[in-house]
């Protein structure tokens, strides 16, 4: 811990590039929840998510010489997504242990969240949180990763395109379809959609 003034990422990154492991571990402290949360939502399983997050930091440290600048955060998320994709691909090769793309929410073990994080904004989401997590788990992985990056973590289209390796147009269409699907899954949640149990234009398909 070099100092307590929350040095900017760039500074810690350049220290880490010189082999300063403490500086890099400050970055780990800063981003481990973010990386772990992304992995957890992508993989749906705590142990696998911790492994993927640990490997993310390990390979990020090794790949630091190739880091060209820009947002360290989205660079990290991109590495994390790659590890998640590897893990999902590995699972596809195995006997399916967990039905991942089923729309049935009860299949996915998302723990009940602890309702404390951001009291003001989380008021509405508190009741909704578990339902939202289950709905996210019901998305196809490619739509889910775009939703997570764009809507949950607030990345810009360009950053998402770089992180996922697809075009801007694909990012937009996946985001649009992902949101559509979430609305359909959550259609019966009056906390989120108070007016109607039915979606006037979302019910196609």
């Amino acid at each position: 811990m070099p100092d307590m003034l929350e040095p900017p990422d760039e500074h810690l990154v350049s220290l880490s590039k010189d082999g300063n492991l403490d500086a890099f571990n400050s970055l780990v402290d800063r981003y481990q929840s973010l990386v772990f949360t992304l992995c957890y939502r992508q993989l749906g399983e705590r142990t696998a998510a911790e492994d993927a997050a640990q490997e993310t930091f390990l390979s990020a440290y090794r790949a630091l010489p190739q880091f060209q600048g820009g947002s360290f955060r989205s660079w990290l998320l991109r590495i994390a997504l790659n590890h998640c994709r590897d893990e999902l691909r590995r699972r596809l090769r195995r006997v399916p242990t967990r039905p991942f793309d089923t729309g049935r929410p009860d299949d996915v073990a998302i723990e009940p969240q602890d309702p404390a994080a951001d009291p003001a904004a989380a008021f509405e989401a508190r009741a909704l949180g578990p339902a939202l997590e289950r709905a996210l788990a019901g998305l196809p992985p490619d739509q889910r990763e775009v939703i997570l990056l764009a809507d949950v973590h607030g990345l810009q289209y360009e950053e998402i395109a770089a992180a996922t390796g697809v075009s801007l147009g694909t990012v937009k269409s996946r985001l649009s379809r992902g949101r559509d699907r979430l609305r359909r899954i959550l259609a019966r949640h009056p906390e989120l959609f108070p007016r109607s149990g039915r979606l006037p234009d979302g019910g196609d398909r």
Binding site: L21, S33, V35, E50, D51, A122
Partner: protein, 259 residues
Amino acid sequence: MTDRLFRRHRAWHALITDAVSGRADEASRQRLDAHVARCDACRTRLEDERRLRAALQSLPLREPSRSLRLTAAMLEHPRAAPSRRAAPGPVLLLAARGIAAAAVAAFAVVALLALASPADDGGSVSLASREQAEDTVAPMAAPSEGESADHAAPLAPFAATPGAPPGLASPPAGGGAPNSDRSPDAGGPSGDTAADHGEDRVADGSKPGEAAENAQPAAARSGGPAEGSRVPSWLLLATGAAAAAALAALAGLEIARRK
């Protein structure tokens, strides 16, 4: 009609997605505002997407159960975890599959041979015993007493209970009524002991087996295959064990690969 309407709305949907993401420019936003003032469906969609995004943004972060800080040890053992995962390589796996297949095939061949050869042996043995049976069918009653008495003596040294065969064999000679229900029993044990101890002699085709064969052809037949498959039986067991071991090793490898 609905198709055209739907397609026209698809254009608005893209704009709604952009607007909710904060990526619509000023002119597009004004166009969208004007549109949703007239279009209930698009207004609902816009509001829904905004609410959804707000809810997603307020989802809390989760904490890993351990610190993910890197240690010098992690860096010193490069790729420890990934290489361990990739350890059972494709070559090893192919080799294991080949060995397992070969072991199973060998077992199958031996098992087929073992199934086939006792059938032949059994056939010949049962034929032989049938011939022997036919030989003795005619002189069934009277000579059998003498013969059994004769043969009981040579059998006696081999038997663990020397007294039993003569003892059991003599009552028929002594006469009928009380022992009529015992005679099947008498035939049974003596036949068994004859089959047990006289196996080699049955194969030799020597005479002492005759009495036993006559009394209990089934016992002789059941002894026949055992003798016929005596040599393959350990081979059968060995190849079976080898096949099982190879399959178990392959299963272990596959499981390790999937872990």
